[in-house]
């Protein structure tokens, strides 16, 4: 059966065909759709775990019981899951365990461009690098086999372009699931130093065997022949496809299993061509290794850009540099400049807009984390000052506070990121007697990545009811005395609460609670309109940054009734009473 699948759909398909028993993950672009697709197959246990570390630990347990399992995350998620990964490499697995990590060359939706292949080397586990959806399905099946053959976890590294591109994939039927039964073996599963030192030696031996295996593993590593032996390309991932189209005459060593390095294969390939170039996205990992084998090569040291996605345009530029011709890509139509940018914005009716609008009225420092509300850094709100990583909003605030910063510091987290890694930060602030004002912008959803459930939503990934964790009760249990729940669209009350809590000389938590309008798919209230007779054109409503408020040809603001969500934020902002509910046929509530 041939299906037109995205890379992410193909990974889910491959896991299912490979007899996966359990799958764990935390949402993160571009990895999210893997679990969202896998959960549609019958008989696979799937869960959104609170964070990536939890996901990998749970998968380790499932694997030690004998089950095949996968863990999914985006690149930065592996930073969170790095601790169990390092030790799991020593302890090893029984059922095949594949850690699927989605890298983001070009940083389409990520704060860093880190190259997950470094983690494979650090953890000393194999990494597979599919070029498209066909590879993605096949490599998932191979990854399970390698994981069980060597008794270690395997990383399947995908990228944004692989995950979000479709190809026609020949699919098969699922193999039976592994029988699970725990077998006591403490010298393997409890890596006390006594046993850990022995495991360490085994890991090194395992890597030597894998390097030899990778050199003869034709379905993962092979040469795509070319007509001319002047130049040979060593590459991995989607870059192989671009090279095939733009340099069809050059033989390509396509490494689907780039590490442990297939040394003998690299040597043999290099000997078959006059000149070698390594073209890889991310860091020059293959390139530096090729050079360490005593093989001269081009790469990031001369012709390949060091940063960013290697798009077809950049492969063209690399080709021209290699040829020394330096032709520019012919562009018959000029690139337009001066067009207005179209950045992502808070949706009409977004409760984050209301909360951050209220914060514009206070002279405070705001620290935040990763979510839709990261957009509050942009004009017109400009109300996020520092952002490092997921779950970091509270702790950054605490550090600024303890450093003696004179201004009050407000730390913001989302509901999903509070559960992800924010609770320990809250504990830190309370236990160590900080004075920051903490806010959870609670829209009952992991909205940024497409509305996944989490421990606070009362639903599992399969839509089944589940106990809903209470942020308020958790905060109180951590010893937080001042806890307030507030509707951000009630601006008067929110302003009062913010003023009181920011003035307090002890820590406090405000839970700004209102649903994501995109998720509930209905208007929050009656559509608003601007009464032109009352409008003084002060443009205060434009400071909300709502896409439903536009400026008309006469220079005055007006509300687009199609876009207006009826959230009433602009109405509470207008000092002249010019904004009021209006009856639009078919647009009520």
């Amino acid at each position: 059966m041939r299906l037109l699948l995205t890379g992410n759909e193909a990974i889910a398909r491959g896991a299912w065909e490979g007899g996966v028993t359990a799958a764990f993950g935390y949402p993160g672009t571009p990895s999210t759709e893997i679990l969202e697709n896998l959960v549609k197959y019958d008989g696979v246990y799937c869960e959104w775990s609170p964070n990536e570390k939890v996901a990998l630990e749970a998968a380790a347990g499932a694997s030690i019981a004998g089950a095949r399992c996968i863990v999914t995350m985006k690149l930065v998620g592996l930073n969170v899951a790095a601790d169990p990964l390092m030790t799991l490499s020593y302890v090893g697995v029984r059922g095949g365990l594949v850690v699927v990590v989605a890298d983001d060359p070009g940083q389409h939706s990520s704060q860093t461009e880190q190259d997950t292949r470094h983690y494979a080397r650090l953890a000393k586990v194999p990494i597979l690098d599919p070029a498209d959806a066909v590879d993605a399905r096949a490599f998932m099946l191979e990854a399970f086999e390698l994981s069980e053959k060597y008794g270690c976890p395997v990383i399947l590294r995908t990228t944004t372009c692989v995950g979000h591109s479709r190809a026609l994939v020949e699919c098969g039927e699922p193999r039976p699931k592994n029988v699970t039964e725990f077998k006591k073996e403490p010298s393997r599963f409890v890596p006390l130093p006594l046993w850990g030192r022995k495991l360490r030696v085994k890991v090194e031996e395992r890597m030597d065997a894998q390097s030899a295996d990778a050199s003869s593993h034709a379905s993962l590593n092979h040469v795509i022949p070319g007509a001319a032996a002047d130049l040979g390309i060593i590459t991995c991932g989607i870059t192989a496809l671009y090279c095939r189209e733009l340099m069809p005459e050059a033989p390509v060593l396509k490494l689907g299993w780039p590490w442990p390095f297939p040394d003998s294969m690299i040597r043999e390939f290099a000997a078959s061509v006059k000149r070698v170039v390594v073209i890889e996205e991310g860091d020059p990992i293959l390139e530096e290794h090729v050079r360490s084998l005593g093989i001269a090569c081009s790469g990031k040291s001369d012709v390949v850009p060091r940063c960013g996605e290697l798009t077809p345009d950049r492969i063209f530029e690399i080709r021209e540099r290699l040829r020394g011709t330096n032709n520019e890509l012919p562009k018959p139509f000029p690139q337009a400049d001066g067009l207005p940018m179209r950045p992502p914005v808070f949706c009409p009716g977004c409760p984050h807009r209301a909360l951050f609008y209220a914060l514009t009225k206070f002279d405070v420092i705001v620290t935040g984390d990763i979510g839709c509300y990261s957009l509050a850094v942009f004009p017109p709100l400009e109300r996020t000052d520092v952002l490092i990583c997921m779950g970091g909003g509270f702790t950054l605030a605490h550090g600024l506070d303890k450093a003696g910063e004179k201004k009050k510091v407000v730390g913001v987290l989302g509901d999903s990121t509070f559960f992800h890694s924010g609770i320990t930060g809250l504990l830190d602030v309370v236990y160590n007697k900080g004075t920051s004002t903490l806010i959870v912008v609670d829209n009952s959803s992991t909205a940024m990545t497409g509305h996944q459930d989490h421990p606070g939503t009362g639903r599992t990934i399969s839509g089944e009811p589940a106990p809903a964790a209470s942020i308020e009760a958790i905060a109180r249990a951590c010893g937080m005395k001042r806890v307030t729940v507030c509707d951000p669209f009630d601006q008067e009350k929110l302003h009062k609460v913010l003023a009181e809590e920011i003035a307090a000389d002890e820590p406090s938590l405000i839970i700004s609670k209102a649903p994501c309008p995109l998720q509930i798919r209905r208007r929050l209230g009656t559509v608003r309109a601007i009464d032109a007779a009352k409008c003084r054109n002060c443009k205060a409503c434009l400071k909300c940054g709502c896409p439903a408020i536009v400026v008309t040809a006469d220079g005055k603001p007006a509300i687009d009734p199609q876009l207006c969500s009826g959230c009433r934020l602009c109405e509470s902002v207008c000092k002249f009473g010019a904004i009021a509910p209006v009856a639009v046929p078919g647009q009520e509530g």
Binding site: R166, L168, E245, L329, P340, P343, P547, V551
Partner: protein, 194 residues
């Protein structure tokens, strides 16, 4: 022969649905097909683009800029923004619609007042359709993207009408088949360029 199509617009306009129809039609016609979708911020008013590629010698889901055969845009400036992706002699199919970005509302940028003139100046082969009005004539504003897809289908003559029909039916939800087929044929008929 390799054919590359670039679809562009704003989140919520049905760009990915249109890409799906083209991909399914190309698959029905027996081509090896790939697509790519850039939609990280689609729901939050950002630009959305998709590419569909098919034909012998096509392996990658993205073309080089200047390598696109047909651009289809659901919004004026999104068409102009990607004009440099088009090949010499390439076709542009553009919907008559301006969606004002928030950067214009907040005064940081201006939306070109002469956008229609610029479209005609930029694209020698332009099919310019008021898809929104045409969709309303058919009684459903959401059919605008299907009308645009019908129009661009004329620029891809290697896919037969039968294959367009099966490609469309492979993508449309049950109960909406007839409305979408009507919209598609209307767009195809109105593509006067070819």
């Amino acid at each position: 022969m390799i054919k590359s199509i670039l679809l562009t617009g704003v989140g919520g306009q049905g760009i990915l649905f249109a890409a799906g129809i083209i991909a399914s039609a190309a698959e029905a016609a027996g081509f090896n097909v790939t697509t790519n979708e850039i939609h990280g911020m689609a729901q939050r008013g950002g630009s959305v683009t998709a590419q569909v590629r098919y034909g012998e010698g096509s392996f990658a889901p993205l073309a080089v800029s200047g390598g696109i055969d047909v651009i289809a845009a659901m919004e004026h400036i999104e068409a102009i923004r990607y004009a440099h992706w088009l090949k010499p002699g390439g076709l542009a199919v553009v919907a008559k619609l301006s969606v004002i970005p928030v950067t214009v509302t907040n005064g940081a940028c201006t939306y070109p007042a002469d956008v229609e003139e610029r479209l005609h100046a930029v694209f020698p082969r332009l099919v310019y359709l008021d898809c929104a009005a045409l969709a309303l004539e058919l009684g459903n504003a959401r059919l605008a993207n299907t009308i645009l897809t019908g129009a661009l289908s004329k620029g891809l003559p290697e896919i037969s009408e039968d294959h367009w029909r099966s490609g469309l039916l492979a993508r449309v939800k049950k109960g909406f088949e007839e409305a979408n087929l009507t919209a598609f044929w209307k767009g195809r008929m109105l593509c006067s360029d070819i």
